[in-house]
Symmetry: C2
Subunit: 143 residues, 2 copies
Amino acid sequence: MLSKTCEYGIRAVMFIAQKSKEGEKVGIKAIAEGTGSPEHFIAKILQELTKRELLQSTKGPNGGFYLDSEHQKYSLADIVKAIDGDKLFTGCGLGLENCSEKKPCPLHDEFKEIRERIKIMLQSARVGEFNEKLDLGLSFLKR
Amino acid sequence: MLSKTCEYGIRAVMFIAQKSKEGEKVGIKAIAEGTGSPEHFIAKILQELTKRELLQSTKGPNGGFYLDSEHQKYSLADIVKAIDGDKLFTGCGLGLENCSEKKPCPLHDEFKEIRERIKIMLQSARVGEFNEKLDLGLSFLKR
DNA sequence: AAAATAAAAGACAAATTACTCTTTATTTAT
DNA sequence: ATAAATAAAGAGTAATTTGTCTTTTATTTT
């Protein structure tokens, strides 16, 4: 469904959002630890998200990654698109490049409905909306 | 969503089902051609499906792959499971090994619903149910 | 200004997935 | 019985994804 890169990315962003109360910043090491992800790998992913301005960071002592309230409004769909592109939302389920409404694969309508649901789900989920759930220990980000 | 291997596999199986009127058999070359797939690669995939008895074949002149009416009743879910395993149906959306009802990831319920839909869709689609659509040219298997 | 801290960048290594080629085994037709 | 046709099997190669390590750059504190 999602690439591993994207899974790590989402988990990291949720983690950062949670820790970003009052502009607190969180370093790569803590993120890797808190999400059970390989440190250098997740660093690369977050670099990319920062470049695309879905995530904020500062260097130097007391630096790290963070998400102000504006940035907590980005959707998970934004993150997924930034990492995996939009094939999940638009690609043919059977991998046919020319599959379209006019020239559909046999599963076109079926996959369309599913893709649509995934899209809605990810578009309506905001990066920052999981903070409480995580704070209360009702859900987890670490394997 | 599906691996490329699985996409090829499904397309091939649909193609074979369509061509299997009255026990006609179809060779690897025709399958590769008819589904726009790499010949030797699709051969491997079909080998595996045959070994698992989701597909039938005979060697020698006039041999090839085919699906009798009993075998046309297998579902696409059967094919997917044989090739990709069942991670699509059961895996955590964020890649967390220990994600479960009791210890859920933040997107657990959302992904559960989507996985459920995918499962129902693939379980209710029979390998042989696309023959007519394909015969009438209402859908295609080749990019 | 210097030292320390932290992300950015880049070059590499490993693992997995996708694909190719060659040989072997089986079946059918002559 | 032999030859031809065809899938099965196996041993590769190539590409992509995942993961690691090292160096550089920017920022802050002293």
